[in-house]
Symmetry: C2
Subunit: 194 residues, 2 copies
Amino acid sequence: MTQAMTSTEAPAMTNGLNMEALVGTVEAVKQNPMLGQFEFRATNKWIDGGENRSRIKEFYGAGTEDESRTSAFEFTNGEPPVLLGSNEGANPVEYLLHALAGCVTTTTVLHATARGITINSISTRLRGNIDLLGFLGLDESVPSGYRQITIEMSIDADCSDEQLDDLLEYAKGHSPVCNTICRPVPVSLERVRA
Amino acid sequence: MTQAMTSTEAPAMTNGLNMEALVGTVEAVKQNPMLGQFEFRATNKWIDGGENRSRIKEFYGAGTEDESRTSAFEFTNGEPPVLLGSNEGANPVEYLLHALAGCVTTTTVLHATARGITINSISTRLRGNIDLLGFLGLDESVPSGYRQITIEMSIDADCSDEQLDDLLEYAKGHSPVCNTICRPVPVSLERVRA
């Protein structure tokens, strides 16, 4: 999916992205939309209490099983003492904020690059509000998830404020994690024999 | 919010959770529902291209600013080469699967414990499907997020299959991350001066 570099010169990079590869990817997906189909995966194992660990490595995309990763990424979920854990790791709703922060940032960088905008810096600060009455099953009228998530983004780029606002609105609308949160996405839970 | 242990004996643990503390937490929130209000937070900084890093430490909950963490958790988002990165870390949509796996697992363990069910093991396998035509802005009718996420859970517990199916349906409905994905949750993106 990425274009082979035929020159021995360093590739033209904008915002840390190889422009030639970006254009090549977009053209390849335009020509063959099936290349846009991706399946991401994770496995997870319960350790004890609120502690569990995920392993992430393989995925399918661009028409093939990816083989670029020689080892798996591993992440540990935990809970703070107030939620009956001992801070074995960040907790799942905190990992969700990390995923959202990263996705909105990467989507902003990618589409800035496509627009020829150079970004100097991006920092975000997220907060999400949850009422645990839902999670604990104490009030079934209270949703168990986040009520609202706010992202404050500090961004410095070589464009006008109008271009920046347009870019951020576009990025918010095209960020896969943001869209997964903003839109109702079906999750199925199937029990398989232990 | 956790009850002080007045005995010098080890606390009664079920599934790695302190039952006395669990009952104490539920009773405290019942008495004073404001204790159920939590605000989780993350900050994130763009590094380059598809690489960025989050820092997670403080949160508000149970009526106070939590001070249990002496250092921050840090996580790096990256992208595989086919998505113009060099596997600097798992990517944001993969972290979302990790968050979902952990949350459904922890919610299952918590509510099993409340029901007096002992769990011997839980393993999950997740897959989520995305069509990158949405993310790349090549087809505005294609959502940029996950179309569907499937969780296969292998669980062994000392209860009947009927009790297990009832527990899993309840856990799916009360998992904060699962609920945040299944339900449309508002995300606001505010630009602040760099």
